[in-house]
Symmetry: C2
Subunit: 351 residues, 2 copies
């Protein structure tokens, strides 16, 4: 599906379905057409996709739009709580949500490895569509490439997203002000640990599921309640610590955390200790930090507590004038420490 | 650069530059930051990119927007007439242009293989920026992932693009009408043959360079002249034959070609004969078919002839009621043949 047009042709297509992806499925001929007709088109179907053209065309209201992209190379493709397909929708929808945008449309670019079982592709595509339908955002344009065996790794997915900004706030690290309250919408560390557990064959007493989830609806509810949101940030690669460091550095202020207030499940904390990870640096895929005016904290917590993606919401810190470092934390035993930016990496191919 | 925000941080970054890409360059920590600060940010720099946020935010005029995506996995990364970087800009800009959209912004998602020479990445990124600057379209948001050695192939790039449609035409296969004139903007087959020549180590008397080029400006000129454009289509994977089959199938009409009118350079024709390819099916990256009202042909040819991307423009056929097949061709010796859709593939990883 080099383009939307490819999804909907009615030309003669081969009678045979292949059990695995062939190089020819990316070649622009009848086999690619067959793949579109049997897998992508029926699954993603929507009015815009059905335009038969090189680009999806749709009206947008006048105003500011948000535009973002992410490629997903997570290994393994399937993990407790999600898979590369749902992740590719949640991650990009969440990037749009972090600017306060209402997501309008997604694109989907697939890079498939020759030999990929067709069943695996179908499972991923169905999962993408389910995740997109959950947030009511159509996948309106797409592309498929196939690379030779050993030159890819099953499936890589890129999603780009467009959203519309319907509020007047400047949601940005530059809007962060001294006194701002720092909230998160739930417990930390589950996505990274869920991936690692599968990858390393680790078994914990209870299965740790990824927190992968879409945050756009929760953000819309916070905006509609008139909350004065200064900044939003999803807590993906590099976790909470990296996100807050970025915000604090841009704002020139310090974020002071209270370790006791940061929710981490006991099983996740145990897994982190076992594996030598700090949950503050572990990737999440359904968690955000929200910095808001302190007067709005009660209202925000109430909205979050009533929302599926806000269970376990907490105030974890506040914004101060620049202290010893961009991010500092009062530990459980009352001592103060600097929370640095992650150097190097903890977990490769987490998303 | 998971997001635009990553491009512009001023945190402490490692003093050492690495000669090759490491897994940690995609990990969300200081090494990724260093890559952004030294390679992506200074090269792509523009106001929107500099917003420090999860998504690029910019105003759009009220109206219809066009949205498209393509992943690029071309092998080799560099070829006569272009490279994966310029191709990733041209291809997506051209997809926007084919709906008559004026391109507004591009995203760039990189999937890098561990061990990629940093110099190679820098060369590709510079080439992308040069191509983007040529068409005056900023790269406003991006993402970088790194996969383990042997799980990728140097560089894969996804670009998505947003454009604005400022005309009232419905440029689409559904707008194609009997009597429409079929034009192309230049000679066929150079991109595919240029790639193959490098890949197979073939030497021809003269170097055959890819035709990779941006078509948005040419299309804007045709629109501004008030031409009644029915349909536009770029002639990428599957070449002219596949593109015209798609259009003819959707429209329910037949496109009748005149082989003598289709420009193919002698060296390209020779290479095709040698290699067993038909130039009608070979991929181009700077060529389009334009179906327009017959009264506008002279005007269109004049505009094309005066444009760098329209040298060699020609009328190659016309739209008729449905004949023996969706696409038919009168050969040089006067016989008629059916021009089928490409079955399977000719050249893998051509774009």
């Amino acid at each position: 599906m080099t383009d939307t047009r490819d999804f909907s042709l009615s030309c003669p297509i081969p009678k045979t379905d292949y059990p695995t992806v062939l190089l020819a499925h990316g070649g622009g001929g009848t086999l690619m057409q067959r793949l579109l007709e049997t897998v992508f088109f029926p699954t993603f179907q929507n009015e815009i996709l059905d335009q038969h053209h090189d680009a999806a065309v749709f009206p947008v209201p006048h105003g500011r739009i948000a535009f973002t992209t992410d490629s997903y190379v997570v290994n393994p493709l399937f993990f407790p709580g999600g898979d590369i397909g749902s992740l590719a929708v949640h991650g990009t929808v969440n990037d749009l949500a972090m600017s306060g945008a209402r997501p309008l449309a997604l694109s989907a670019g697939f890079i498939l490895e020759e030999g990929l079982p067709m069943e695996t592709l179908e499972r991923v595509v169905r999962s993408m569509q389910a995740a997109a339908a959950q947030v009511d955002v159509p996948i309106v344009t797409g592309d498929t490439k196939v690379v030779d065996r050993g030159k890819g790794d099953g499936i890589f997915i890129n999603t780009a997203g467009i959203g519309i900004i319907e509020h007047g706030l400047e949601i940005s690290p530059r809007s962060v002000r001294e006194g701002g309250a720092v909230l998160i919408n739930g417990d930390l560390g589950r996505h990274g640990i869920a991936i690692l557990a599968v990858r390393e064959g680790l078994a914990f007493e209870t299965a740790i599921e990824s927190d992968s989830a879409p945050l756009a609806d929760l953000v819309q509810q916070l905006l509609q309640a008139g909350l004065r949101i200064q900044c939003l940030r999803d807590l993906t690669r590099g976790g909470l610590a990296s996100a807050l460091n970025e915000i604090a550095e841009v704002s020139g202020l310090t974020i002071a955390l209270d370790e006791r207030a940061i929710p981490v499940r006991e099983d996740v904390r145990g897994a982190c200790e076992l594996l030598g990870f700090d949950p503050l640096y572990v990737a999440n895929e359904g968690r955000m930090a929200a910095i808001i005016d302190p007067e709005d904290v009660d209202n925000a917590l109430e909205i979050m507590a009533a929302h599926p993606q806000g269970q376990g919401a907490a105030v974890i810190g506040r914004v101060t004038s620049r202290a010893a470092a961009p991010v500092v934390m009062t530990s459980r035993i009352g001592s103060s420490r600097i929370v640095d930016r992650l150097s190097g990496e903890q977990l490769p191919r987490i998303c």
